[in-house]
Symmetry: C2
DNA sequence: ACTAAGTATATGAGAGTTCAACTAGATTGA
DNA sequence: TCAATCTAGTTGAACTCTCATATACTTAGT
């Protein structure tokens, strides 16, 4: 039989959907408006910027940006058109491609970072108590590990996003 | 100056993105695979099914399904093609349209509900302690109210989603 | 070596979303 | 009452995402 959600669970579930959607929409709108890129592209640029040499294999980049390979491929194609990323055939494995963040790409990311972080604070961290932030962290960790996902750690020289 | 995220905040933020994305992807894949609809359509059907007469004004439906009017309009157009929803000109305000859930639409929703709820449990509720669910509820409530959003309560005869 | 299977990535079509018009009906106020 | 304005909803274009498929290179097995 179906284990339906009880009243409390349903309220939580709907709140969860609403909250996460509000945050995502806020991020997307802010980035689109101020930096002309969707959030997914921002994440790609961030990951590239943190990689050694600002370069990474496509498949590795896809994993770190939590993107399908197909989505990443399309996205990098667009980023390449803008001159923000360049693709180079991998020497070691000639099937592979390495995406390289260009100077223009880094500049675009740097220009976008401030407004983005502000938005993240505005929509999430500023509205929570420090203890709630800790709780959220544990909750998300539980969800991620149950789903078999993994969170790539932030790089050192990161434009903290 | 930019208030960058510190190390803990960054970890939490990346976990949050990963977790919410994993959940959304799981829901979308499950519904697409088993019921041939994206999650957004499911939400629309749920809201309609809970409305008196299984009917609602487009703008009200958009608000409750957290959708832009444009998105809703496109979505309802597709749902209409499938025979799951019907549109009627509103008598009171002749600019307005009323979306009505058809019997076929209700049947499609009923058929999809079990698998969907299971997926919600699998990805979220089953992996959290009861206390964490309460904490998550409060966290989401804070985010929603800060963002000026609102969560429509569940209807009475709901296919609890 | 050669073939079968596997891996890395790209590509194209189909579908959903966003944004900016656009239509049509309702309101307001002089 | 009539023009200006507002509101409800739709539409089309541009863009992103997904899924299935194709391409090219690599690895395993014999």
């Amino acid at each position: 039989m179906t284990r339906w959600l009880d009243e409390d669970e349903q309220r939580t579930w709907r709140r969860f959907l609403t909250a996460t959607q509000l945050i995502n929409e806020a991020l997307d709108r802010q980035l689109q408006r101020d930096a002309n890129m969707p959030h997914a592209y921002y994440v790609i640029l961030v990951r590239l910027s943190e990689a050694p040499g600002r370069a990474m294999r496509m498949s590795e980049l896809a994993a770190q940006a939590q993107s399908s390979q197909s989505r990443l491929s399309h996205a990098v194609a667009r980023l390449e058109e803008r001159g923000w990323v360049r693709r180079e055939r991998s020497a070691a494995d000639r099937r592979g491609n390495v995406a390289v963040l260009t100077e223009e790409g880094y500049a675009a990311l740097a220009a976008a970072a401030h407004g983005h972080v502000e938005e993240v604070r505005r929509t999430l961290f500023d509205v929570l108590e420090p203890e709630q932030v800790r709780e959220l962290d544990e909750i998300c960790a539980a969800v991620v590990s149950a789903a078999g996902g993994h969170v790539s750690p932030a790089g050192g020289n990161t434009l903290a996003r």
